[in-house]
Amino acid sequence: MGHSTGRVIEVRLGSGGHTETCIFCPEGAVPSAGQYTLASDPSDSNAILGTPIFLVENFETGFWAVPLFPTTWGPGTDLDLVGPLGHGFDLPRSIQRLGLAAVGDTVSRLMPLVHQAVNTHIGMTLFTNLSLPKLPTVVEVYPLGSLKSSLDWPDFMALDVPLDGLAGLRDVLGLPYGTGLSCPAQLLITSPFPCSGMAQCGACAVPTRRGWKLACEDGPVFDLRDLKW
């Protein structure tokens, strides 16, 4: 776990009404898709906890990030950065048809996978009810409700789901208890990470087949087959 500093150089409105933040920082502070870096503004005396920020898009001297919570950061804000933390997505090389589903509050955290898939010429379909960011034309987009009838298309799925939404995931996928997806899937579970793994406080605990795991430390990306859902 490293710590470094960065600077906000631009902000924009992203998917789901979330502000996305362009951060100039060392390469080592940039999380991979699904990982997070903990960011805080040391000059903000009202800040109580750091904010997990997720990768949206890489650029040469930093990255576009989407914070898990609203922030007051603007261009010129200096940030303390800790991380990258946790485990991110790991797409197998053999994928031909990638299904993406944004069940949470933004599509932005799945965007690094979109860029990765475009670069490797993988077919892609995004399921979401959220407002969309600017997407490459190769991405087909459908409402979340059509996911149930499209589960035979992807050979790999990546989903963004809030921890609170895990219990309702079977309804979203239309899968009765005891059944699973026919293809492998990875799930980015978002939750407040108050201790970011420093305390194993349990606030982000996720039920898995091997007992409780912490999204901040063991995730936030999990293999769907490992979860109890």
């Binding site: 710590h3 407040p192 420093m198 305390a199 605990a205």
Partner: protein, 252 residues
């Protein structure tokens, strides 16, 4: 550290539940900034995380309801005792017990563990003075004992803890209720700067009663730490500030 001798240099430590079960020497924490390490709460048998929403933010702080998950004392000893022995700072083990008898058994198992310098005993928020005294007596033995009392009731209960053999009392986070985004009321421990005025008042009242106290609650700056010591605390436990500032010099 001799029996009943609790001296901390510097007079700062983490609060139970804020830095895990043993000092992680690979973390961003500067251990030299702390005078002791307090473990996460440890129960005799395993506890699983609380169900439902566990974190709610509010202006000035946040509510946390975790259920103090831990794998139980035996598993903790297997996995962490060697880390306590290797700790660069004194280790205080925080214990949760259902009864004084259960606590006494847990304490006996810890007395010969290398690297344990003291015990902190947590009690439930509905505890009464007799139970506090029973816990303090049960924990008494070879190691100095800190009784962690509910902040809201510390002034009422502290004298019994000291009379029964505790070396010091410490302040547990106050408990509160907050609505979640879905409107459901969540109960849990409160953290953040909003707690500080209440904590300072309790520390000062305990000082006036002659109760040795480790202050805790809402300390986020050097000035607030100094205020806690000036109010009469012999040392201060830090909580969420460690999650926010560790690695950057706590109060720079």
């Amino acid at each position: 550290m001799a029996k009943h001798d609790l001296a901390f240099d510097p007079p700062i430590m983490n609060a139970a539940g804020t830095l895990g079960f043993a000092p992680n020497l690979h973390s961003v924490v500067e251990w030299s900034e702390l005078g002791a390490f307090v473990t996460n709460p440890i129960s005799l048998t395993a506890r699983t995380p609380a169900h439902g929403r566990r974190f709610v933010a509010y202006p000035g702080g946040f509510l946390l309801h975790t259920g103090f998950p831990n794998p139980g004392l035996s598993s903790i000893l297997r996995h962490y005792a060697r880390h306590w022995h290797a700790s660069p700072i004194p280790v205080i083990v925080h214990l949760l017990a259902h009864s004084a008898g259960e606590l006494a058994g847990m304490v006996r198992r810890l007395e010969n563990v290398e690297g344990v310098s003291g015990l902190e005993v947590g009690v439930t928020s509905d505890v009464n003075a007799e139970m506090v005294a029973a816990y303090a007596q049960a924990a008494g033995g070879e190691l100095p004992v800190i009784i962690q009392l509910p902040m809201e009731r510390c002034v009422e209960l502290a004298a019994r803890a000291i009379e029964a053999g505790a070396a010091v009392v410490s302040l547990a986070p106050p408990r509160g209720l907050l609505p979640s985004l879905e409107g459901e009321l969540i109960q849990g421990r409160l953290y953040g700067p909003a707690i500080l005025p209440m904590a300072l008042r309790v520390v000062r009242e305990l000082k006036q009663l002659g109760i040795p106290t480790i202050g805790a609650g809402g300390v986020y700056t050097q000035e607030q730490l100094d205020a806690m010591l000036a109010a009469g605390a012999i040392a201060v436990q830090l909580d969420a500030v460690l999650w926010h500032k560790a690695g950057y010099g706590l109060f720079n």
